[in-house]
Amino acid sequence: MNKKFYIEHLKEGLLTNNPTFVQLLGMCPTLAVTTSVSNSIGMGLSATAVLMFSNLFISLLRKFIPKQVRIAAYIVIISGFVTAIELLLHAFLPSLYASLGLFIPLIVVNCIILARAEAFASKNGPLRSLWDGLAMGLGFTFALILIGSVREILGAGSILGYDLTFGVWQPALLFIMPAGAFITLGCIIAAVTALRRAADARVKAKEKTARVTGKEEE
């Protein structure tokens, strides 16, 4: 049974319950960071790393943390992790810190991490919480890259830094501006919902024909 849980949960993290598109969490870093794909990748991966470790530790300690101080305890653990990672990166991997440095303090104020800690890690075992951290982290990274690419192409006329405008069209600066971020995110969520609804409709239609005609319609 639990093998199915892991695959199912990964799908849930990436698509059906995606933290950015479905749960609408982690808006601040999503809007602030997705001005370029490289930023999105940096933010997504560092957030995934922190999410996995914090979920693991919180689910390990969940029995010792009384309900009255659970928020304070979780957030201290999360921000402790983030600060430690920031100091270690700054000292031992300065090149990586140069590209990720800006995002790490942003992770502390990322709602996804506390939301997952409160909703999942405090109720499930360490291994499942670690997996939930990975699934939600990847879902978050996937969403960031999608938004980042749209905003970078439209806003800066480049992708991963390579210029796409060839001097032909002038990129619309609006998409780099945070106001454009809201609009881009809105349209992307609409597209994702439309895709999900179409997928559900197709599945339902197949079920219905099967029920009526009594055989699986291909």
Binding site: T35, A84, H90, A91, F92, M177
Partner: protein, 180 residues
Amino acid sequence: MKMKYYLKVTLSLLLICMAVAGLLAAVNALTVDIIAANAQKEREKAVGEIFSDMTSMQDAEGEWLNGVNTVYAVYQNDVWIGYAVDLDSRGYGGEINMIVGIGTDGTVCGVRVISHSETPGLGSRATLSDYLDNFIGVGERLTVKEDVDAISGATISSKAVVDGINLALSLGLGGVEAHE
């Protein structure tokens, strides 16, 4: 029962805070001097980019205006070739730490930004070398709009860079040999 309840709740948060603080203190003790060394190396690399023929630089002590961290006198085999002013300027997202190189004639001969937290893709464009290089040769105070046009959409960041340069120029370092 009440006493045990108070103890349990208070102690748990207390222990967690102590543990995390201990971890961070240990990590910090481990890393604080390495980080300082890295920063210093980075600063030297930046000054080296401005004064390409620099062999050594030395902190020229002195009371400087606030915002200025340190001023380095730059030498080329013990011949004084100018100053490098390490200063902080107030940008949109926070402090911009930059180094402004002042030549012997008192004009700007190069600008480098060490660290900033401007909005990526927007304000950060004001910290790139192609924007900074058009300040080379500037001698007196600049104002945005008349002398130099700000990057569209990043007016506050561009203005912060210009303020930094004006601050460096206002120190009046041109032509004054560094006292030994």
